[in-house]
C-alpha cells in the first residue's frame, strides 16, 4: 500500500537535470538519455488539412528512460481528436535505442527497435513509413483496424563544429495486415544559437535556444516501393531550454505532396527528472 503511493511521489519529485533536447520531433540523433534519468514529454501534432482531409489534434505522452549510457527506452501513450468527429485513445508503443559504438565518431550509428500497438486512427505521425496515413476516413471506420507493428530504424548521426546532422532509415512490418515491409526516412540538422555559456542564469539568452530543420516521409513498401501516394514534410524546428529541467519544442511542418496535410504543427514540452533509477533501486532493495 505504502509503495503504491511512494512510487508516484518518488517519480514525480522534481530535481534539477539538464534537459536540453535536440529540437527534432521525428529525426533521432545519437544523443541518449542520461543513465537513470526519466524524461516526461507531452507533445502534439495538429494539421491544417487539404480539401477532403480532416482537421485533427493528436497528443501523445512520452516516458523516456536512460537505462545505460548506450541504451534508452521509451513508452508512448497516444490519442487524437478530430473536428466534428470524436476523441479517442489510439494506442501505445515501446521503443529501445542502442548506441552501437562506445566513442564519438564522424558518424555514430544507433539501432532502434520499436513495438507499436495502435489503431489506424493514430495520427501523431511520430514517423511516416509506407504510404500516407489515412486522414480522410472517419474515426469510426479506422479505430477498429489494429496495427501490431515492429519497427526498426538505423540512426546515423554526426556532430560537426556544433552542427548536428542526422538521418534515419525506417523499415516497419505490420503483423495485423498484409502490407509488406514499409519504408520511410527522416533527415535533420540543427545548431545551438550560441556556443558559449554565460555566467548568469538567463532564460532568454541565445545559449538556451537551438534551431534547425528536418524532412521526413514514406518510401512505400515491398509491395509498392517508391514515392507514389506517400506523404512528405519539410519542417523548421526550434527548442528552448525553459529551465534547467524543462525544454519547449515547436515545429511547423509543410506538406509536400497531396497525401500530406497542408501543414503539420508540432509542439512538445519535456520535463526531466534525475536519478529515478537510483530511487527505484533503493525503494525495492531497501537500501538507505
Amino acid at each position: 500500500m505504502l509503495k503504491r503511493w511512494i512510487i508516484p511521489l518518488v517519480l514525480c519529485m522534481p530535481a534539477a537535470a539538464f534537459a536540453q533536447e535536440s529540437p527534432y520531433f521525428v529525426t533521432y540523433d545519437h544523443h541518449m538519455e542520461e543513465p537513470g534519468n526519466l524524461e516526461i514529454e507531452i507533445s502534439s501534432s495538429t494539421d491544417i488539412p487539404r480539401a477532403g482531409q480532416r482537421f485533427y489534434f493528436a497528443p501523445w505522452t512520452e516516458f523516456e528512460y536512460g537505462v545505460t549510457a548506450r541504451w534508452t527506452a521509451e513508452v508512448y501513450l497516444e490519442g487524437q481528436s478530430t473536428w466534428r468527429d470524436s476523441t479517442l485513445f489510439t494506442g501505445w508503443r515501446i521503443e529501445n535505442r542502442f548506441r552501437a559504438l562506445k566513442r564519438e565518431h564522424w558518424i555514430n550509428p544507433v539501432l532502434y527497435l520499436e513495438y507499436e500497438n495502435i489503431n489506424e486512427a493514430d495520427l501523431i505521425q511520430k514517423e511516416i513509413e509506407g504510404g500516407a496515413p489515412d486522414i480522410r476516413s472517419p474515426n469510426s471506420a479506422l479505430r477498429g483496424a489494429k496495427d501490431h507493428e515492429l519497427e526498426t530504424k538505423l540512426i546515423l548521426s554526426s556532430d560537426v563544429h556544433d552542427w548536428n546532422v542526422a538521418g534515419n532509415f525506417i523499415a516497419a512490418k505490420n503483423f495485423s495486415q498484409d502490407e509488406g515491409v514499409e519504408f520511410g526516412y527522416s533527415v535533420g540538422f540543427s545548431h545551438p544559437l550560441a556556443t558559449l555559456a554565460s555566467g548568469s542564469n538567463c532564460r532568454f539568452c541565445r545559449e538556451n535556444f537551438s534551431a534547425g530543420a528536418e524532412a521526413y516521409g514514406g518510401l512505400g513498401s515491398t509491395l509498392n516501393f517508391g514515392l507514389n501516394d506517400t506523404a512528405h514534410y519539410v519542417a523548421p524546428v526550434a527548442a528552448w531550454l525553459v529551465s534547467d529541467n524543462m525544454t519547449l519544442r515547436v515545429s511547423p511542418g509543410f506538406g509536400l505532396t497531396r497525401q500530406s496535410s497542408s501543414m503539420l504543427f508540432r509542439f512538445g514540452l519535456s520535463y526531466e527528472i534525475q536519478g529515478v533509477g537510483d530511487r527505484l533501486a533503493r525503494l525495492f532493495k531497501g537500501r538507505p
Binding site: 548506450r70 529501445n96 501490431h148 558559449l196
Partner: protein, 138 residues
C-alpha cells in the same frame, strides 16, 4: 500470436533495463585514455578566465548529479573526485576528450551534445576547482 510474443519480449526488455541500470562499483578505468592527438589539444578558452563562470553553471547542470556540487565525487555513484591528482594531472585535451566521449562501461554518458566551447568551459572550471578551497565552490 506473434504480437503477444513481441509484447512479452518488449516487457522483458524493459524490466531487464531497469535491473541493469545501476552504475557498477567505481574503479578507475585503466583503459580509458584519450588518444595522444586529443590529449595534446589546448583549451581555446585558457586566455579567457571569465568563461569559467559559465563553466560552473554547466558543471552544476550536467556534472553535479554524479560528481557532487563541489566536484568531490559521490561514493554511491562511484564517481571521480576532481581534486585528485589522478584527474588534475591530465591535460586539458584529455579532460575534454573524456567529457566528449564519456565512458559508457562505467555509466558516464557522452556530453557531445554540448557545443565544443561549452565543453572547454567545463575543463576550465575543473582546473579552477584545484585552485580554490573546497568551501568556496559550494
Amino acid at each position: 500470436m506473434m504480437h503477444r510474443i513481441i509484447l512479452s519480449a518488449s516487457v522483458i526488455l524493459g524490466i531487464l533495463g531497469i535491473l541493469v541500470a545501476e552504475n557498477p562499483t567505481y574503479v578507475p578505468d585503466a583503459t580509458w585514455h584519450a588518444p595522444d592527438t586529443a590529449a595534446a589539444r589546448l583549451n581555446p578558452l585558457a586566455t579567457r578566465p571569465g568563461a569559467v563562470r559559465g563553466g560552473k553553471k554547466l558543471f552544476l547542470r550536467n556534472c553535479a548529479e554524479c560528481h557532487g556540487q563541489d566536484g568531490t565525487g559521490m561514493a554511491k555513484k562511484h564517481s571521480a573526485n576532481f581534486y585528485l591528482s589522478v584527474v588534475q594531472e591530465q591535460s586539458d585535451g584529455a579532460l575534454f576528450w573524456k567529457i566528449t566521449n564519456g565512458n559508457a562501461d562505467r555509466g558516464m554518458p557522452s556530453f557531445s551534445k554540448l557545443p565544443e566551447l561549452e565543453r572547454w568551459q567545463l575543463v576550465l572550471y575543473l582546473r579552477m576547482l584545484n585552485q580554490q578551497p573546497l568551501s568556496s565552490t559550494r
